[in-house]
Every structure is written in C-alpha cells, then in structure tokens.
C-alpha cells in the first residue's frame, strides 16, 4: 500500500497522518428475553484507510455499514478487535487511556447530534474549558475567542446548549474540537441532523477552518453531495468494509465498484429534466444483516454482476487507476 | 365495683346445648398438661382434662377453695405431710371410654420431667423424692419410684420434704392423667387426650380452638364442671378493641360469646356509661399483685433509700389508669392482696396513690443521688406494657429520676428479665400464686437462694438472710392459720426493704354476651371467667 501512498499527489512527500490497517471490530449481540448471545456483528470488518496532512477523506456508506464504528475506533472510544491505527507514529490500537491522553490533543471529533454532544448542564464556557481541563492544561485562549473562530458571538459563552439552534450548537461542538488545535478531526455525520441551509454553513465553516489551521478531516456522511463538497478523497463502505477509494473527481466521474455506481445513481438530482432522463440502477433487497453477512463479496446479494466467484471469494482492495482502489472481481473500470 | 366477683346473669338459667364463643386476644400457649402454666390456658384446659383436685366452681373467695376432682378427697397426708395418698373416683373415663387409672396420673406427672416438655410448674421436680435426677419417661422408661400406683385407683406421692398444701398443688394441670399410649411427645400440645367434658375438635394455634362434647365424660363423677354448651369455640389472637366492640355490639353469634380477657381501657368509658352494657360486665377479683421490681444488686439501687424513694415517687394511680382505671383493680399498698385475707397498710403512702415526689427527692438527696440518676426499665413491647412503662417514666421523672425504656418482645419478656445478666434496673412484673395463699408467692419471689442465672423469678434479686430464715420457719408451720399470719408479717418485713413497689391488685372486668349465663370471675384464674360454669340461656 506504500506504493499507493507515494502515488497520492498530496501525501506523496510526507508520511500519512493517520494510517488504519485491517481494522476489525466485533460486537457481541444478545437477543430478546433470554439475552442469549446470538453471535457477533462484525461492524467493521477489515478496514484500511489513510489520511494525509491537510487532506479530507470522505467516508460514505449506508446506515449500519460501520462508519461510526470506524470513527469511534480511530478516536479510541471503542477498542478495536484487531488491526492497527497509526497516528502520529504511534499505534493507538493497544494504548491505554493514560497513554492516549496526550495524543488526544491532536485527534479530535465532531459528532452527529449537535445537542446530545453538548452537556446540557454546562455552559458553553464550561464546555469549552473542558477541552483544556481534561488534558490538564490551562486554557490558552478564552472561550470568546474560540467562539469567534466558529462565527459565534462572545455573548454566547455563558448560555446553555438548549438556548442555541442546531447549527449554532454544532459550531460549539466544532469550537470544542478545535480548542486544542488538533491535527486530525474526525467528523461523524456533522451535518446530517441539520437543515439544508445550515448544512451549507457548517460545510463552509469546516472548509474555512481547514484552510486556516491546516487540519485534516475524516469526514463521515451518508450524503454524497456533502462528501463531494468537502472531501479530497473518498472511501465508500459497504457492510463493514471499504469497497472503493478514489479521488473525489474520479469517484463521481468513474465509479469502479457496482455499489458506488448504484449509490450515485440513487441520489436524486434537484433537476426535473435530469431526473426524467437519467438511467436508474435500483438495487433490489436490503442491506444484509451484519450478523450473518453473505459469503465472498459482501455486495453480491444485491449486485447485478455477481457470479460464483463473488460468492466464493472475497475481493480485496486493489489499485485500478491512479488514486483509485476497488474491491471487486468485476469492477466497472479496469486498470 | 367491689369485691366478691359480681356474677352477671347469675340468676338466669343456663340450659344445655348451643355453641359458646370465647373471644381471646391472646394465644393459648400450651395445652399439654405438662407445659400448661399460664392462667388462661389453665382456665381453658379445665374444660378438657381433669386433675386430682381442682378449684371450686364459685365466685369470689369461695373459688379459691380446693375441692376433689378425679380424687375422692383432697389427699391424705402421712409421714408428716411427706407422703400423700389419693384415691381415684370410680367411673371417670377418657374420651375413648377407657377408665382413668392411677397409672395414667403417674405417667402424666412423669412426663413433666422430660426436657422436651419445658415451661411447666417446678413443683414435681422440687418436691418429689428423686425428682432432681429423673429425666422423664422418654429417657427413663422405668419411671419415678416416688410416685406409686399400687392399684388402679390409688396413687401415692413420696415427697422429699413436708408439703402442707400438696393437696392444692395437685390441682395444677401437670397432675392431669395422660395415657402412655396416647402420648405424642411434643405434639401432644396440640391435641391433649381428653378426660373432661370436652375434647378438641380442631386447634389452629393463634387462630381458633374448637371443643366438642366428650361423650364419655360422666357428669356424675364431676362435681365442678357443668358441661352445658355442646360446643365451645375459642377465637384466638384477636385485637382487644375488636373483642370489646364485638361484645359491646353483641350481635348474632356474639350474643353467645364471652371475652377471655378484661376489657381494654379504651372501652371502659363506653361500658360504664351504658347501663345495659354495664349489666353485662362481670368483674372478678384476683389474687394477682402487680409491682415494680427494683434490681437490688445494681448500683445505686442497692441503697435502700433509693429504693424507698422510688416507692414514694411511683404514681400508682397513673399506672392503674393505663390498665383502665379503678375498674382494673385496687391500688396495691402491700405485697399480699386483701383477696387472700391480708391487712393492707402502705409503708410508703401518698395521697390517692399519686406518689410523693418530694419525699422521694428528699430520700434521694440523702442517698446522694438528687440528680443524675438514670435507670433502665425493662418493659414488654405490648401496648399495655409501653403505656405502663411511660407512666413509670413520667412519675419517676417527677422525682428527678430519668428512666430509659427497654422494650422486650412480649414472648421473650420473662425469659429475658429472668436472665440475671440481661435484666436491667427496673422491671414491671407481678405475681399470681398458683393457688390462693402466700405459699407459692413470697417464698418463690423473695427467697434469694432461689436466684438462678436464667429463669429467675426474683427480678429484684433480693437476697435477705433474715427473710430467708423466716421463710424456712414458716414452711415448717403445720397450722394454716398460723402460717397465713406469719406470711403477713413476712410481707411487711420485705416491704421495709422495698425490693418491689406493689401498685395494683388486679380485678378483671370482663364482658359477656347477652345470652350467656353462669358467668363469674374466678379468683384462681386472675379474676377471669370460670369457663366450666358457662352456659347459654336458650
């Protein structure tokens, strides 16, 4: 994979900031009255990713495919079952909480629900101070300054979260994440809970902050439009694994995985004429249960191209073009 | 109210038949004759089994007279009252029709020695020759040699000392006959074999005892029991207020009911102000004396002045009020009640028995305990026990003595205060002789030589050599009248030391249903109704 990285135009000369390899997370699943152990969900099933400095990696996929779990593993809110998470030359996977603490300054997170990610009992000032306090640091910038950075007013500092709108609350969450001047911010669907107009504001804000502080983002979303807007590179997940990664433009112009293809064609376009004329690939069936994933290629149950090979053998990610990797036996685009 | 035991419905004629109901707030602790040593159980058991002698079925002091029951007379002493011979009446039968023999009496007494059957009176063990080492028929089937049954109708007791009133002692349930083949050991308690007018139909402890007629009981052999109702149903463990109110209302079956225990203080007002109710109230005299026991071995109670101060301070009237006021009895001024024929003058008098805190304070000051005297009172955790304890607390409080109350579960009360290491400073107690007279009272309660670490009756732990010498002297007196007079003097002698402060001579005001006849309080059963004489009018 090192070769791929070298080929990556942005990260060519520098080593990646975050490098995730073969990450696996299994959860035990208990069921019903009996709380019987029904098995294990492989929420994340061998994910490998890299994020370079100043880069934004978009991670898209449908509900339940394991995006949030990836985010939680990287921020070590969950302990991985196996695999490695190299960040700033350390493998986070095995570290304990104490050893992690200093590293956390460089690795922050923005959450999906702006309200539930803010402690309702704390004022904005307390929330922001928490960033320093938990690291055992003295605040190096007042809350007002942090708020100003995300476009809020100084007067907001002494209010409680419920006194804000969703967009404002998400800005507070972003301010908190940025307080320690991290290198990488993992954003788990930061705009899905927001109204369309507010969504645009937050996307713009994230972009501005990236330019200003040279941040890297791991930007998780199921909304392809938002991902396209903010990402430089995009990874598509399906049922716990990455099926395709590509530069933004490549992915939208020439998707190689049948799933990516279907996904793109399913996004409704706000243009009646295009909608009327467009070729639609409507996938049949639902996402299979991660408790009992299909053999071989995870996507084969819904794939038009699937054959015995797909059922027998799980395709590995392979590079098919500059900056494009796909895990498919029959990619739409061949190298 | 006055002495003599008023008899409600005395002139009404009781007829044979019907179901008599008895409402009791207590439980019948033991029906097994070997273990039966509580007045209410004794009263009830007189319906079920017979003893060699028994008390006369009569109101007032006449009831204190011991008369022959199974025996033809009240016993024939010989060998200076060390040997007692009884002859059984012919024709007395058990419930299965077999005749009652002297062997059944012998066996019944032998049973009382068994450790499995505790709680009975101590007399057999104390008096019967060889009794100290006999372990009862279960361990020692050979029996006790000092009880002889030379033929079916003769039983001879050999005592280890002269006992003048052994004839009275054999009125106790422990002298009831028990056929050996009917002995079920510990479980005999719930179904003793009947020799009296009734046998047990069913018994549910703390709930109900149902007695039905014993057809093999021959009234001709029994001069005491009337055996009028066909059935006697005794409801147990009822609430005092409920018993009172049911009898006050007196409706339905309750017209055929009587109370087992005296009315509660809360009902006194209602009963006394209603002539109709008052006419259904039977007040029986008793030979019970209630007193506050002062632990003479605890400091500073070993100082007689402190004890006398307590005797002065105690508000006897307040204590009586907790039991229902004047109707509950007369204020006690000495140890022996007038119902036993004694003079009663109070060495620690106060106006209306309300106590004299000033005298008490003076005595305390003299003893050097004018302040800071704190005593602990052991009291049963019953409503009455608590009320009395509070009254003691309040009245001693007036004399500057602060009293802490130690509540003890009612059932464990006597065994706790009878344990000399667990007993505290003060105990509310009392004594009712086993038969009228002082012989089962003063020598048992005030003889310091009898103090045991457990099962002690001398809660004052009073131990006076002078008194003990006197007790021995009286025991040797053969003439009952002389003995009675000597006991009177002994009582006064004890009172000087104030080991106890008597405060009440009980009376038992008992409600009976409108259709019940033959009700009177029996002096031997602490003034409660003599159940064997009760009957219904129609």
């Amino acid at each position: 994979m090192d070769e791929d990285d070298q080929r990556d135009e942005r990260a060519a000369d520098r080593s990646p900031l975050l490098e995730v390899r073969n990450l696996v997370k299994r959860f035990p699943v208990r069921h019903g009255l009996t709380q019987r152990l029904a098995g294990h969900v492989a929420a994340v099933d061998g994910v490998s990713l890299t994020v370079g400095p100043g880069e934004t990696l978009g991670l898209v996929g449908e509900s339940g495919c394991g995006k949030s779990t990836v985010a939680k593993l990287i921020t070590r809110l969950e302990r991985p079952t196996s695999g490695s998470i190299h960040f700033a030359a350390r493998d986070l996977a095995g570290l304990n909480e104490t050893a992690l603490r200093p590293l956390r300054r460089d690795l922050q997170m923005v959450f999906q629900d702006p309200f539930s990610s803010l402690n309702p009992r704390h004022t904005v000032r307390q929330i922001l101070a928490g960033a320093y306090r938990y690291q055992g640091l003295e605040p190096d910038q007042p809350a007002e300054e942090l708020l100003a950075r995300v476009g809020l007013e100084a007067g907001h500092a002494d209010r409680h979260p419920h006194e804000f709108s969703g967009g404002q609350a998400q800005r507070i969450g972003i301010a908190r994440a940025l307080a320690l001047r991290p290198k990488l911010v993992v954003c788990d669907e930061p705009v899905s809970a927001l109204d369309v107009s507010v969504q645009a504001q937050i996307l713009n804000l994230l972009r501005d902050l990236q330019d200003e502080y040279g941040l890297s983002y791991l930007f998780i979303a199921h909304d392809l439009g938002a991902v396209r807007q903010i990402s430089t590179r995009i990874a598509v997940m399906y049922l716990g694994s990455v099926v395709e990664t590509a530069d933004r433009d490549t992915l939208f112009a020439q998707p190689a995985h049948p799933y990516t293809h279907a996904l793109l064609s399913a996004v409704p376009l706000p243009d009646p004429d295009l909608e009327a004329s467009r070729e639609r690939i409507v996938l049949h069936g639902d996402l299979p249960s991660p408790l009992d994933p299909p053999s071989g290629c995870r996507f084969r149950t819904r794939c038009l191209k699937a054959d015995e090979l797909c059922a027998a053998e799980r395709p590995q990610l392979r590079t098919i073009a500059l900056g494009q990797q796909v895990a498919c036996h029959y990619p739409e685009r061949t190298p | 109210t006055g002495g003599g035991g008023g008899a409600a419905g005395a002139n009404a004629v009781a007829v044979k038949g019907g179901t008599l109901h008895v409402l009791s707030t207590l439980d019948l602790e033991h029906l097994d004759p070997a273990r039966n040593y509580v007045t209410s159980s004794e009263d009830v058991s007189r319906l079920i089994y017979r003893t060699l002698t028994t008390f006369a079925a009569a109101p007032g002091q006449a009831g204190g007279k011991v008369v022959p029951d199974l025996a033809t007379d009240t016993g024939r002493p010989s060998d200076g009252a060390k040997t007692w011979t009884f002859t059984l009446k012919p024709g007395a039968k058990f419930e299965d029709g077999r005749p009652i023999t002297s062997r059944d009496v012998k066996y019944g007494v032998e049973r009382t020695f068994a450790a499995e059957l505790p709680e009975g009176p101590p007399y057999a063990r104390m008096w019967l020759a060889g009794g100290e080492s006999y372990k009862g028929p279960y361990k020692d089937p050979a029996g006790l040699a000092s009880i002889e049954a030379p033929d079916d109708s003769t039983v001879v007791f050999h005592l280890n000392r002269p006992v003048a009133d052994f004839g009275s002692a054999v009125s106790l349930p422990m002298f009831a006959p028990v056929p050996q083949d009917k002995d079920t050991g510990v479980t005999y308690d719930s179904r003793p074999f009947s020799s009296g007018p009734y046998k047990i139909d069913s018994f549910d402890p703390k709930k109900r005892l149902t007695l039905v007629r014993n057809t093999n009981w021959d009234p001709a052999t029994d001069t005491v029991r009337k055996g009028l109702p066909d059935k006697v149903v005794i409801d147990l463990g009822l609430d005092t207020a409920v018993v009172d109110q049911r009898l006050i209302a007196g409706q339905g079956e309750d017209a055929n009911a009587v109370a087992m225990e005296p009315i509660g203080p809360a009902s006194v007002g209602r009963v006394l102000t209603d002539p109709q109710l008052k006419s259904r109230l039977v007040t029986g005299d008793s030979i019970n004396t209630r007193y506050l026991s002062i632990n003479t071995r605890h400091k500073p109670l070993d100082d007689v002045r402190v004890r006398q101060a307590i005797a002065y301070a105690l508000d006897k009237d307040a204590l009586r009020t907790t039991r229902g006021g004047p109707i509950a009895g007369d204020l006690a001024t000495s140890l022996l009640p007038p119902s036993l024929g004694y003079q009663t003058e109070d060495p620690y008098p106060s106006k209306d028995g309300r106590g004299d805190p000033d005298r008490a304070k003076a005595l305390l000051a003299e003893a050097g305990h004018a302040s800071d005297l704190t005593l602990t009172l052991d009291a049963p955790a019953s409503a009455a026990g608590k009320a009395q304890a509070e009254a003691v607390q309040a009245s001693l409080g007036r004399a500057g003595i602060s009293v802490k109350i130690n509540e003890i579960s009612s059932s464990a009360f006597y065994s706790t205060v009878g344990n000399t290491s667990q007993e505290h400073d003060l105990v509310i107690a009392g004594w009712s002789p086993d038969w009228p007279g002082a012989s089962t009272y003063l020598p048992i309660v005030f003889d310091g030589r009898l103090i045991t670490s457990q099962g002690n009756n001398d809660y004052a732990q009073y131990d006076s050599p002078a008194v003990e010498a006197q007790i021995d002297k009286i025991a040797a007196i053969g003439d009952p009248a002389a003995a009675q007079a000597a006991y009177g003097q002994l009582a006064q002698q004890i009172m000087q030391d104030a080991p106890v402060v008597p405060f009440l001579w009980d009376k038992a005001p008992i409600l009976v249903g409108g259709n019940v006849a033959g009700a009177y309080g029996h002096v031997a059963y602490v003034g409660r109704l003599d159940l064997v004489s009760l009957g219904l009018r129609k």
Binding site: K72, L77, E97, L100, R101, R104, L107, Q108, M109, F111, D113, S116, S117, L118, N119, P120, R121, H122, G130, A131, Y134, Q135, G173, R176 | D239, T240, A241, Q245, G264, P265, A266, S267, V268, G269, R270, L272, D315, D317, A318, R320, T321, T322, G324, G325, P326, A381, A383, K386, A387, E390, A391, Q393, A394, S395, G397, I405, N406, E407, I408, S409
Partner: protein
C-alpha cells in the same frame, strides 16, 4: 431556578409547597409552639383524664380546651398539640435523613452501575433486584426488633435508607446508562477526560433532575413507612413522639376518642399528600415532555 418559578406558578404545587414549608416550620418551631401553648410533649396530666372511664379525656372532642388546644391523650393526658409538633420533628427528620441516605447510596451505586456496565452493573443490579424482592416491611420489623438498645431513630433512618436506595439506584442507573452512551460523554472522552471526571463532571450533573424527583417522591413514602413501622410497634421509642406511634396508640381508642386518632392521622395524611403533590409538580417542572397536570 426556573423550576421553582414553574412550581410556584401552579396553584396546587404552590399550596403543597406552602403546606410543606408550614410543616417544616412547625417542626422547627416545636419548642416555641409548646412554650407559647404552655405544654410539654411528655408531661402527664392526670387531671385532664377521667380514670373512672378508663382514662378518657375530660371534655368534648378529646379534651380540646384552652389549655390543650388539640386535646390530650387518653390515659396519661399528654398534650396532643405538643406531641404533634414534636412528632412532626421526628417524622420529618427521619424521612429526610432516610431520603438523604438512600439518595446518596442510590446515586453513587446507580451511577457506577449504569456508567460502567459489565460485571459492576451485574453485581449492583442483582443486589438491587434482591433488595427489591425482599419483603422489606417484614424484614425491617425483624431487623429493628432484633436490635434493641440502639437509638431507634437512627436505626429507622439506616433501615429505611438501606431498603430505599434500590428505588433511587434503579432510576439513576437507567439514566446513567443513557447518559453514558450520550455523545457528550464520548466528546469528553475524546478530550481525554478520566473516568472520574466523566462520572462527576459530565454524568452526575445531569442526574440532579431525576434525583431531585425521586427524593421528593420518596420523602412521603418514608414518612408513611416510618409511621407504619411505628404503627406495627417498631417505631420511635417512648416517650419521643412520632405521628405513626401516636396513631398506633390511638388505635384502640378510635371508637371512644376519635379525635385522638384523627388528629395525627390527618396531619400525616396532609403531609404525605403535600409531599406527593410537590413531587409530582417537581417531576412535571423538570420534565418538559409531560404536560400532565
């Protein structure tokens, strides 16, 4: 503070609040009140009762008179008013302290169980289940009667608090479980917060609402239980008065001297009711969802 404003804006809650405040005042001012009324909770007044009638108070309605504003107890003639106000002191104090104890225990253990989950939760959760399935009244009585000599008031507080904490613990555990999964806790963890900080700074402040509600709701429960235990004969020991004990002694008298039974009974009822109304109101005020008035 908005909570209090919300509370006072409801008429029933304001009334309940006033009653509770009044009762607390009554309890605190008990010595003053008895001084004004010239009575004492322990002094016998033999002249106020008629021994000839079994100790029934002289005069109408349980002996209500200028000297004894709420009458006297039968038998011993103690002043009912004095006993009621001192009884309020005892009953309220026991209930409040038992609440404090159960809230402390319940919050601490519930928080730990809910937050950490796993075997800690299993152990604490099972303990709570166990205590909840105890026939606690029987057990309390057995326990209290088994420990003579100790101060009953203290014992009551301990026993009530001990058997009460699982009720608090269950609620706190549930809340803590939800909160622990909350994103703001995850956010604090990402910032490097220690477990202690998470518990104390992040989760705990969010429990004040539910804890306040269970606390308010459990006070009337404890008052009633204390009274019930006194009623069953294992309450506060004489001569200290408590309402339950007053009612218990009044039981045999309920037909002959109803006032004696009714006065402490009504006080008890009103107190419990007021606390219940207040508890409801606090819950509604803290729970924006409920428009249940």
């Amino acid at each position: 503070m908005t909570v209090i404003r919300k509370l006072v804006s409801q008429r029933s809650a304001a009334l309940a609040f006033a009653v509770v405040a009044g009762l607390v005042l009554l309890a605190v001012a008990a010595p003053l009140i008895t001084w004004i009324a010239g009575s004492s909770p322990t002094a016998f007044h033999g002249d106020a009762v008629d021994p000839g009638l079994g100790g029934l108070p002289r005069g109408a309605a349980g002996g209500i008179s200028a000297r004894h504003w709420l009458g006297v107890e039968p038998v011993n003639g103690r002043d009912v008013l004095a006993r009621v106000v001192y009884g309020a002191q005892v009953s309220l104090l026991i209930a409040v302290l038992a609440t404090v104890l159960s809230v402390l225990l319940g919050t601490a253990l519930g928080l730990v169980a809910g937050f950490f989950g796993g075997w800690v939760d299993t152990v604490i959760g099972r303990t709570m289940d166990l205590l909840l399935s105890f026939p606690s009244l029987i057990f309390m009585i057995a326990l209290i009667s088994a420990a003579p000599g100790t101060d009953r008031r203290l014992l009551l507080v301990v026993v009530l608090g001990f058997f009460g904490w699982p009720y608090v613990g269950r609620i706190v555990r549930g809340q803590a479980m939800v909160l622990a999964r909350g994103e703001f806790v995850a956010a604090a963890r990402v910032l490097g917060a220690s477990r202690r900080a998470l518990l104390v700074r992040e989760v705990l402040p969010n429990l004040t609402g539910p804890v306040l509600v269970v606390a308010t709701m459990s006070i009337p429960g404890y008052i009633a239980t204390e009274a019930g235990l006194s009623f069953l004969g294992v309450g506060v020991q004489a001569p200290t008065p408590s309402w339950g004990q007053m009612i218990a002694t009044a039981v045999p008298w309920y037909a002959s001297d109803p006032a004696y039974f009714l006065i402490p009974g009504v006080f008890l009822f009103v107190t419990v009711l007021a606390f219940n109304v207040l508890g409801d109101a606090v819950r509604d005020a803290l729970d924006p969802r409920s428009q249940r008035r």
